[in-house]
């Protein structure tokens, strides 16, 4: 194991950090997908950073993590996670070389926005919980169903949709992936702005035409591969967010006085801050656990460790962001003061791909099976 960053990786981190500090945090109450920001990310090559060299990119999970962490610090990773990680990673994981070669160059150039439509109202984080159906109709398929929490779905040009060609909801076999144009007949996109101001949509498919990606009925493996990438990215964003909340809180403790003392002189508050720092320290190790898991081959261990990552990162982020708001007293309640943005983002990250409790239950089940 070699944990030092390469020169190229150091450059990515540096440029991401500079970008975030130059840009500042988004305006209080800003809502929607920032197209200008998206163009800048494309210009800086960030949309290729999570794509392997064999597909024309220059990176992988570590590069994604470096960018996500810095964006998380600046509380502005909404666009990146949805449109640069989920969609493109699902396209690559689908194994459909034709679609990949046709679409990827436009995606990394920031010209085509591809969103992953992979969750449903009652999925609760289970990617196999797919009720949306696809029926073959000649060379194409027709899709019927509703997808929720489609990140960047309100601005996407294309969707990759998980839909069932056989079996019942909950079964891993029978799930297939389809490419659907946002402006196709039978696709209705209902924007659903999220609590952190980032952009998503509920997308309803009614007899909408879709192009099969990869092998019919074998889409679940690709969903899993995409989820692994996304969970690592979330763990990285979480590290940046936790460090930022701790630093913002420390800054507040250095400036605010009550009873003639700086808040930072109260030991009870020092300890709250120390707990945030501990979560941030361990959060970085959680991210490394996730990154190291990409090199493991046993699917059971992979599932266990990525689920553990989502659970641990989520629980830690919840602790830190809630404590951050509490530490600021009334100021923590305001839209204007930055600490609350991280709490809002935490709620969104919790919902994406399933809450910590869902993933903890997955780990628990695997462990119980292990102990024969």
């Amino acid at each position: 194991m070699e944990l030092n960053l390469t020169d190229d990786q150091l450059l990515i981190r540096e440029s991401a950090a500079r970008f975030v500090s130059d840009r500042g945090r988004p305006e209080a109450g800003a809502v929607g997908f920032d197209r200008a920001l998206w163009g800048q990310m494309a210009d800086m090559g960030w949309l290729s950073a999570g794509i392997g060299e064999e597909f024309g990119g220059f990176g992988g999970p570590v590069e994604i993590a470096l960018i996500a962490e810095e964006l998380g610090r600046g509380s502005s990773a909404g666009e990146y996670l949805g449109a640069a990680v989920l969609g493109p990673q699902l396209l690559i994981a689908s194994g459909d070389a034709e679609a990949r070669d046709r679409l990827l160059s436009g995606i990394v150039a920031g010209e085509t926005l591809l969103a992953a439509a992979i969750s449903e109202p009652d999925a609760a984080g289970n990617l196999a919980s797919v009720s949306t159906r696809a029926n073959s109709s000649g060379a194409a398929f027709r899709l019927d169903g509703t997808k929720t929490l489609v990140l960047a779905g309100d601005v996407a040009d294309l969707f990759i949709v998980s839909a069932r060609t056989s079996g019942d909801s909950g079964a891993e076999p029978g799930i297939s992936l389809f490419l659907v144009h946002a402006d196709a007949t039978g696709v209705s996109v209902q924007p659903t702005p999220l609590v952190d101001g980032s952009s998503a949509a509920t997308v309803v498919f009614e007899n909408a035409e879709g192009q099969l990606l990869g092998i019919d009925g074998e889409g679940f493996a690709a969903l899993t591969a995409m989820a692994e990438q996304a969970i690592a990215a979330i763990a990285a964003e979480t590290v940046g967010m936790m460090e930022a909340v701790a630093e913002i809180t420390a800054e507040y403790f250095r400036s605010r006085k009550q009873f003639g003392m700086l808040l930072g002189q109260f030991q009870v508050l020092q300890h709250r801050l120390a707990d945030m720092a501990i979560d941030a320290e361990m959060g970085r190790a959680t991210l490394l656990v996730a990154l190291a898991t990409f090199d493991l081959t046993d699917p059971r261990i992979r599932a266990l460790r990525f689920a553990g990552t989502k659970a641990a990162a989520g629980e830690a982020l919840r602790r830190v962001t809630e404590a951050g708001v509490q530490a600021h007293g009334g100021m923590g309640m305001t839209q204007e003061y930055p600490v609350g943005r991280y709490l809002q983002r935490m709620v969104v990250l919790d919902a994406i791909l399933g809450a910590p409790a869902v993933h903890l239950a997955l780990c628990a089940k695997t462990l119980a099976e292990e102990q024969a």
Binding site: M1, E2, L3, N4, L5, T6, Q9, V62, A246, A250, F253, R254, G264, Q265, Q267, Q270, H271, L273, A274, D275, A277, I278, E281, M282, R284, A285, T286, L288, V289, L291, A292, F294, D295, R305, G308, T309, A311, A312, E315, A357, L360, A361, C363, A364, K365, L367, A368, Q371, A372
Partner: protein, 400 residues
């Protein structure tokens, strides 16, 4: 970054496993599966076996009798020993005193003390805390007064683990009351057989005897038994504590063993007609701790990979690991007790102890579980309480 498994690491692990399979005595392994304190004989016998095979303290430098292993190798070694249920050896001697001896001891002191330590013939204990000096260690009052070629020591130490088993104690004593309180402290080695040394047991809440009060009444110690110079004791003590900021704070063996016990018990124990481990709520609590251990392990790997660190950074990382690892450890020992159900509340005397119960009052896997729960409370107290660790983090990281 490169995360692929290192094949040399796997070969190394196999080497350790093979050694343990051939050389860990069955009676030590059986006892290691429970959580009763290792006896002096057990500690020394196991250490002599380790030493005979070159594993006396293999992460020490070659010139200090080790093999110069890397931190990663030490982690793997510790993990394999824990998985094999090998006894914990004399922590005070190896983890605390040994590195001080290697770094600050004169050639004569090193020649005198290292070999008996490594070969498993002596046990050491530590005399730092005093009744009035716990977290505020520098306020200690035990005195050492120079008389000719000797130091004469008077005072009292407390929480001296293993003092009743120990041949030697390394202690902090005040050799001057001038200047700052830290400046008058010295680091002295005392033969426990010296006239004037007396040990009084403190039975802890686990019902076991590892803690003691140790009294020094005009104890005469040769001047050669001081490590470093008079007044250097505080900086040596800081060196000692910093040395253990990583491995001592994490205490990975305790985590591995505690997790294994919880899994084992919850896999046997029935609740509502199913294994307790199949109860979703209980299993989720175990799973959380399982993953936390993987994270702490990774924090160790990450920290080792960073190499030399500033004292400030080491404080932040070390204290963070200490708080998190002890919290996980205490939750694991609590879950093990809870998993036992009714037998969690039953007292299981040490079957090899002075007053074993005949027959044992319940299933064998219940032995030592409550003892471990009570003992684990100490982990968040010794080496600086978790509250002190949080103070350290607030100061080092944020300047408060």
């Amino acid at each position: 970054m490169e995360f692929a498994a290192d094949p040399e690491e796997d070969a190394f692990r196999e080497e350790i496993r093979a050694f343990l399979k051939d050389h860990l005595p069955a009676d030590l392994e059986a006892r290691g599966r429970r959580h009763y304190t290792a006896t002096r004989e057990e500690m020394l016998r196991w250490q002599s076996i380790l030493h005979a095979h070159g594993y006396g303290q293999p992460h020490w430098a070659v010139e200090h009798g080790g093999k110069g292993w890397t931190g990663r190798q030490r982690m793997i070694f510790d993990q394999e020993l824990a998985n094999a249920h090998a006894p914990v050896t004399n922590v005070q001697g190896f983890a605390l005193f040994g590195p001080v001896l290697n770094a600050f001891g004169t050639p004569e002191q090193q020649a005198q003390f290292r070999e008996p330590l490594l070969s498993g013939t002596v046990v050491w204990c530590q005399g730092f805390s005093e009744p009035g000096s716990g977290s505020d260690l520098a306020s200690l009052r035990t005195s050492a007064v120079r008389q000719g070629d000797n130091w004469v020591i008077n005072g009292q130490k407390i929480w001296t683990s293993q003092a009743s088993l120990a041949d030697w104690i390394f202690l902090l004593a005040r050799t001057s009351s001038e200047g700052k309180k830290q400046e008058g402290i010295s680091f002295i080695l005392v033969d426990m057989k010296s006239p004037g040394v007396s040990v009084r047991p403190i039975i802890s809440i686990d019902g076991q005897h590892h803690l003691n009060e140790t009294f020094f009444d005009d104890v005469v110690v040769p001047a050669d038994n001081m490590i470093g110079e008079p007044g250097q004791g505080w900086s040596i003590a800081k060196f000692l504590l910093n040395n253990e900021r990583l491995f001592g704070s994490a205490d990975m063996p305790a985590l591995y063993m505690s997790l294994e016990r919880v899994m084992d018990i919850a896999g046997r124990q029935k609740a509502n007609g199913q294994r307790l481990l199949d109860d979703a709520e209980f299993a989720a609590r175990v799973a959380r701790l399982y993953f936390e251990i993987a994270v702490i392990e990774m924090k160790m790997i990450e920290t080792i990979a960073r190499g030399a660190m500033s004292e400030r950074d080491l404080s932040i990382v070390g204290s963070s690991i200490k708080v998190r690892a002890t919290e996980v450890y205490m939750k694991l020992t609590q879950l093990a007790v809870e998993a036992l159900g009714d037998f969690g509340a039953v007292a299981f005397p040490d079957p090899e102890g002075t007053a074993p119960a005949q027959p044992a009052p319940g299933p064998q896997h219940a032995e030592g579980i409550a003892v471990a729960y009570f003992y684990s409370r100490a982990a968040a107290i010794y080496g600086g309480t978790n509250e002190i660790q949080r103070n350290i983090i607030a100061k080092a990281k944020f300047g408060f």
